[in-house]
Symmetry: C2
Amino acid sequence: MAKSELYKNAGVDIDLATDLLKDVKPLLAATRRSEMLVPVGGFGGLFQIDLSKYKEPVMVSSIDGVGTKLMVAMMMEKYDTVGYDIVNHCINDIAVQGAEPVYFMDYIGIGKLRSPLYEQVLAGIANACKAANCAVLGGETAEMPGMYGNDFDLVGVITGIIEKSKIITGEKIAPGHAAIGINSNGLHTNGFSLARKILFDKAGYSVNDKPAELGGESVGEALLKPHICYYPAIKAALESGISLDGIAHITGGGLYDNVPRILPEGVGVVFDVKDMPVPPIFKLMVEKGEVGHEEAYRVFNMGVGMVWFVPEAEADKAVELINSKGFKACRIGEVIAGSGVVVK
Amino acid sequence: MAKSELYKNAGVDIDLATDLLKDVKPLLAATRRSEMLVPVGGFGGLFQIDLSKYKEPVMVSSIDGVGTKLMVAMMMEKYDTVGYDIVNHCINDIAVQGAEPVYFMDYIGIGKLRSPLYEQVLAGIANACKAANCAVLGGETAEMPGMYGNDFDLVGVITGIIEKSKIITGEKIAPGHAAIGINSNGLHTNGFSLARKILFDKAGYSVNDKPAELGGESVGEALLKPHICYYPAIKAALESGISLDGIAHITGGGLYDNVPRILPEGVGVVFDVKDMPVPPIFKLMVEKGEVGHEEAYRVFNMGVGMVWFVPEAEADKAVELINSKGFKACRIGEVIAGSGVVVK
């Protein structure tokens, strides 16, 4: 009887999984939201839409993986932060449309289920979800020794809800809008192929090396910094009535590829990022890898985790509001008539 | 500008992915449902709940992987059927609760993006979704040479909707109910670790061998038969008004582990499966692997892909209805006062 089972396990050592889940289950259970219904039969997770909150509810879903940041986690033998990474990456991806994240599910594919990897990953997921008031609705772990060897993959799916009339589309972005950047703390979950090549292959660092440029932090620590969840700032802005007309989550492709995804025809952006702090790990990679300016801003976020577009008149208020929520924000550009993205 | 982009690609050769997606995009687009909104910014997929259809809509979501059936697909160099597998496995997992599947998303983790693997997998997914009137809302492909080598993993997430009062819980299953089995066509997506061990390691078959027991089919063909989608039968039963009081999808764990997941306290099931055709691949594995009766029904579905529980008086009608939809069904047991599951 597995009526209250939150986790399915395909082809895994069930006894071991149950044992490892022992301490994590309370953390997963703590993410429960009132809309979750008691699991039935353990097949699918159930989440009731609160129709008192929405007239025309729209579901927003997104799926993502952590990518090769997992290899750094394995080198460091530290697995909690990648749980935060997958949750926060997914949340940011739908928060940019104005959605409230409501439930999350994960998939772990792994060669051999083992401790403390499994508990740490799931604890990270649970804690990140709890922080964003997002329920862990279910998950799947598949043990496949022949396929993964000693490796593992971590995939997340986020589902959010938004009132149809409040979807943030970017359509209202126009010349005269300001671009506001929110500071990242590092690579988030993108650019790790190049990062590993530069830092480990070319510069010859190990994860435990502490080059002076990192100010006391090790290479591994700097690389593993978890993806920041910017949803609290977005939520505050929506509640404050600021005209948040467009948001771009800066993932793979950097400012150059992610910002155009939300720009309407006939507008471009001139970025001037001099006021935005660049985390030391980026400076180190640019130097050691002799990475050009454009490539750097195409592969890495270079300190800009998210970009908001608001009318010029509301820019100061937006920056102040973001900073009041514990993030670091500043103006990093202006919208012009034209097309394309340039980064000064 | 990627405003209509259905697919995100993290760390992959974008030009190659775009090229390979060329022929598949129309298939993915053909799965569109009217509730889908035009993609905005390409970050998350949007699906509007049709409130004319539901008073108290409940979302049902489930995540799963194909598991090591993928290794057989690689041995056969045939990748369309695993697309059907992941979609149909996911759909069955939520259809058993009475949900209508509405949208699907996939994740492909792969060492090196290549043709025809990529197009075949996605075409299988698109065609399986189209057949079930389920939209492909989005997907993610991640190329990670260092992690996957020559392998790949395939993960699916299904989301469905159900009216709260119509959720099938199993609570009404009582002594006097009949158990009706719907015939499977093979392993579906479970039991492949044992299957590969018996057929390839112990019996020494290659995927192209055609043992007489398989009646002209090769070992690889029999193993790769795609997971059947039973949703059309469930949908027909719900529309017909049959008292469909419980449904178990028979996946890993077989009849022994999956049926108890939906049984209320105080009832057990006596299965007598003699009328249910057993696909030849199971007979071959049982013989070559000297697999005991209980182990066989615990690891494999042994020809029973799904079990329905209906009041005895409605059993004949239910069997007839299932058969009228092109499936093969028969009575395979009865519900008794007690607990546990026995298979004759």
